[in-house]
Symmetry: C2
Subunit: 260 residues, 2 copies
């Protein structure tokens, strides 16, 4: 409960950033990506796996830096992804000093923790920049509503191994909460897209839970409780933004492929 | 020696496919990707890591199938990449039955073994479909010339841990051979782009060696000698096409970003 209130308070500066969009949003996304990558690579070290932090940060600087200089170019982004794969694999050449998973962890960190949050910037570049709000609404409405519904009605464990406190009832409440919150937002700010807003709320709420479970699965495998201590007693950036990171690309491709 | 002659003979059907381009080329690229993914995932099993073969093959069918149906769409390819990341990570949820690296190996197989060869199809879709030949010329000219130059003049070991037979002299010979072969090809088939052809030969030759070393590094880490036995006594698809897989994206982005 206290965690949730404090984490909500942490979101206040983010809301200001969302309001402005543009470069402030790019800086916020880059910070989430870079601090997240710092936490994620340290998490791997707990397993004895050492992804290349230099490569991860360098690819992050290139991604957000190139966007700042020349904007979004799909072909450049594809080239950046292929370069990330190649550089990560080349990092694995030094078989004498590196384990078999160092290259794989480097690549996964780049694509999951660096590339996913970049989609907040991409949403800001579509014809629907206002949809950036939907990322936050879906991620946090689902989390908060799942918590309260689970507390009140939770009976059936959803995934006891991965996240023992989560219940099926809570998940249903989270999905409904996210759909309702997105619907209210759509009613006021995008009345011509009300149905799509509710659909995005449902879809975003579902993906939000997937983001949460993904971050939990890695934490369990790494044997750590939290990714960091950025917010004292309340974990790191990845603990707070695990859902946001997953929801951003989901909503971006929803806008690109489904929204009229 | 014998290996090289036989492997050259194996290339004959590929040359016919290159001549036709289009759907035959797409089928050849898809076969390299799928058989390569079969070999690569089996290689991981030697380490006790079990990437999801179902997810890898499914994403492969989607990639090549969608191209067959609607052609190349950069935004669709970006969406496919993000979906590959998400699905691979979700595969890692089942922490009770899966190791910490199963998701990472799934993602790496998709991006390295499925996505890289797809760039042969992409080259075929540019304004320079003839450049598909350059992939084969750079990959095999570098390999053959490095072999002979190394035999004749090789003294200084290049990377004793990774590939003990390779010498610096052989590598220089391979680069020169690739540049000369690409230059001859350019002289006859793209005389207006002779300088660029030689540059592609040099660049492609360098990347060809990177592809070779990458495949070797994984084999050493996996503790296997060959990826497969498709060609009896001469290894699997990944042993023969390790260079081609790396050179294809390099030449594609060279065409897109550098060629006038």
């Amino acid at each position: 409960m206290k965690t949730r209130i404090i984490s909500a308070l942490c979101m206040l500066p983010l809301l200001i950033v969302l309001y402005f969009g543009g470069i402030p949003l790019l800086i916020a996304a880059a910070l989430i990506a870079m601090i997240g990558a710092d936490e994620f690579t340290k998490g791997f070290q707990a397993l004895g796996v050492r992804p290349s932090r230099k490569i991860v940060f360098l690819m992050g600087i290139i991604l957000y830096g190139v966007h700042l200089l020349i904007g979004f170019q799909p072909m450049l982004l594809l080239g950046w992804i292929v370069l990330s794969v190649a550089v990560s694999l080349i990092y694995g050449w030094d078989i004498k000093n590196r384990g078999p998973y160092d290259a794989l962890a480097t690549l996964t960190t780049i694509l999951y923790v660096i590339l996913f949050p970049y989609h907040m910037v991409l949403i800001d570049n579509t014809d629907y920049p206002i949809m950036v709000w939907m990322v936050i609404i879906a991620a946090f409405a689902a989390d908060i509503m799942a918590y309260f519904t689970g507390m009140a009605f939770g009976k059936h464990k959803m995934c006891p191994n991965l996240s023992p406190k989560k219940t099926v009832e809570g998940a249903v409440g989270g999905l409904l909460g996210s759909a309702i919150a997105a619907g209210i937002f759509g009613y006021f700010f995008m009345p011509e897209h009300l149905i799509e807003s509710i659909a995005i709320g449902l879809f975003g709420g579902l993906v939000s839970m997937a983001g949460d479970l993904t971050a939990s699965a890695f934490k369990r495998q790494m044997g750590i409780k939290d990714y960091g201590k950025l917010i004292p007693g309340h974990g790191g950036i990845l603990d707070r933004f695990d859902s946001v990171i997953f929801v951003a690309p989901a909503i971006y491709y929803f806008i690109i492929f489904i929204l009229p």
